[in-house]
């Protein structure tokens, strides 16, 4: 008998083999869903594609106050300015804090407002027990860097004023600890923390700074999830290999996406850290999924499962997300290939 999506994911997170390799994505562009299943809702799409999880992106937990409709500039919930573009998320333009003293009177958003959890509740109502409901939240350091301080101030403060970062980080930390509790009360099965720690060549900060300013807060988020009996996944693009121990020490249950654009290889990851953390990834959404032929996509998917799937502890995904440049038929080919090649026991030659 086949497993439910929820059982499939929970089994692989325990490093056991489920009936088949699970699949879901951190983001699927609206135009891709529309090409595959026109006129239907995202929930209908999840069911139609038989995805193992319904992922709730953090844009659903954020409200924006439009400041300039023509320029598409808005104020986000942290008080900073953002600009909307064709991307999934608006881009930060101006942080909420201008000087350290602004922290004295800063008032953050309220994590207990009911509207934040409506999408989670809706998905729980439809999918509970069948597919995992996974709210996504941003890394604490990303919130401080992008929305409270801005990148240059944040990175230089790592050296000049670490106490400022620690003080500012408490604001989103307390918000998201509460947010995690509320999501789990609403029925969420898993929590997923998104935020890049590295560029394609190297991590953004030294292992020491990464541990102090990124890892320490991730560890608290993961700890809260575990205290409430829920696994915690982590997404970060880039070459995270020099700081992989910081990620593992935070206690995460799965690591996404083992970025091939940064030269990371699923087979190497499986051999070196696959016994400590479930791996998620990593069929390229830079070339294979947007531009590949059916055969290219099937070959890359088979190869990815072959490298990561043995013994469980593996979720097959794209190398980031199904963005606007991925044709609907390519995503369909990808999902079908996972369902075909990912049956356990694996027999991939």
């Amino acid at each position: 008998m086949s497993m439910t999506g929820l059982e499939r994911i929970m089994t692989t997170l325990k490093h056991e083999e489920p009936d088949r390799v699970p699949h879901f994505e951190g983001g699927i562009a609206a135009n891709v869903m529309e090409q595959i299943l026109p006129g239907k809702s995202e929930e209908d799409f999840i069911e139609f594609m038989d995805l193992d999880a319904a992922v709730v992106h953090y844009r659903w937990f954020t409200k924006y106050e439009m400041i300039d409709e023509r320029k598409r500039v808005a104020r986000d919930m942290w008080g900073g300015l953002v600009k909307f573009s064709s991307e999934l998320l608006p881009h930060p333009m101006g942080p909420a804090l201008k000087a350290e003293k602004d922290l004295d009177s800063y008032k953050g958003p309220d994590p207990d407002e009911d509207w934040r959890y409506k999408v989670v509740e809706k998905l729980v109502k439809r999918f509970k027990g069948q597919r995992a409901v996974i709210p996504v939240l941003p890394d604490i350091w990303n919130v401080v860097k992008d929305f409270l301080m801005g990148d240059v101030w944040y990175f230089t403060a790592m050296i000049e004023n670490p106490a400022l970062i620690q003080r500012a980080s408490e604001i989103p930390l307390n918000f998201y600890l509460r947010f995690i509790r509320n999501c789990i009360s609403a029925g969420a099965d898993i929590i997923w923390v998104h935020g890049d720690w590295a560029g394609t060549k190297y991590p953004f900060a030294s292992p020491q700074h990464t541990g102090k300013f990124m890892g320490a807060y991730l560890k608290q988020l993961v700890g809260e999830c575990h205290k409430l009996g829920v696994p915690c996944l982590k997404h970060t693009d880039g070459n995270i290999w020099p700081v992989k121990d910081v990620l593992l020490n935070a206690g995460i249950d799965a690591l996404h996406p083992i970025d091939p654009a940064a030269g990371l290889d699923m087979a190497v990851a499986k051999a070196e850290i696959g016994h400590k953390v479930c791996l998620m990834g990593n069929v390229s959404c830079i070339d294979v999924l947007p531009d590949g032929t059916t055969e290219d996509i099937r070959r890359a998917t088979k190869e990815c499962i072959k490298k990561g799937g043995k013994g469980g502890g593996f979720i097959c995904t794209s190398s980031n997300s199904i963005h606007t440049g991925v044709p609907g038929e390519n995503y369909t080919t990808f999902v079908k290939a996972i369902q075909e090649f990912g049956r356990y026991p694996l027999d991939l030659g």
């Binding site: 573009s85 230089t156 060549k201």
Partner: protein, 212 residues
């Protein structure tokens, strides 16, 4: 006697205060501003670029060095102007249409400026026509553009094509960069140069103007 090596080291250490004091002291000791820049500050920031390119320095250290250079250049600027010391070159830069990600571009800007370049930063989400208008109006030797996403890479090609259509392509060298871009892709798109990080961007820019 001015200890240029010690000044370089302050840039490498990201010590804003000490570098500022040493720069002021060097000027007071009748040091030549151009010599302080060329023998003290620039070797320091070049070393920082090398360390960053080699994965030994990271963004915090790089940005601190940029802060040191800005502070020291503010002290030297009046003397450099008096001596009519011109920039190493003039560079126009922006992220292409649809792309809002600017930290990589900002690093390139900082390192170019620190290395004596005059840089006009058009910011993010710059349409091809804005690149063209700026090239037509200004006297730039190089146009740099970046795209972080696969979905915005086409903006690089569009901009190069727009420069050609406007008859401006031969007026400037074109450099490109960004996470999904490779040397091969850059060449196919018709760019003159490609750099994978900020330190390399400075090296490539200097090589391109030597060709001109």
């Amino acid at each position: 006697m001015i200890d240029f090596d010690a000044l370089s080291q302050k840039v490498i250490d990201g010590d804003v205060e000490a570098a500022g004091e040493m720069t002021r002291a060097a000027l007071k000791a009748k040091g030549n501003a151009e010599e302080i820049l060329n023998r003290g500050l620039l070797p320091g920031i070049r070393k920082v670029g090398e360390l960053f390119g080699a994965g030994k320095y990271f963004l915090p250290e790089l940005l601190m060095a940029g802060k040191v250079m800005n502070a020291a250049m503010a002290i030297l600027e009046p003397e450099l102007s008096k001596a009519k010391v011109g920039p190493r070159g003039r560079y126009l830069i922006g992220t292409v249409r649809g792309d809002m990600h600017d930290i990589g571009k900002n690093i390139v800007v900082m390192l170019l400026r620190s290395n004596g370049w005059e840089v006009m930063d058009l910011g993010v989400d710059v349409p091809p026509e804005d690149f063209c208008a700026a090239v037509a109006k200004g006297n730039y030797q190089i146009v740099g553009m970046s795209a972080l996403l696969t979905t915005t890479m086409s903006g690089v090609k569009d901009t190069i094509e727009a420069l050609k259509a406007a008859g401006l392509r031969d007026k400037v060298k074109v450099m490109v960069g960004g996470a999904p871009i490779t040397q091969g892709w850059a060449t196919r798109a018709g760019a003159d140069g490609y750099a994978s990080d900020g330190a390399e961007a400075v090296i490539v820019a200097e090589a391109l103007i030597r060709e001109q």
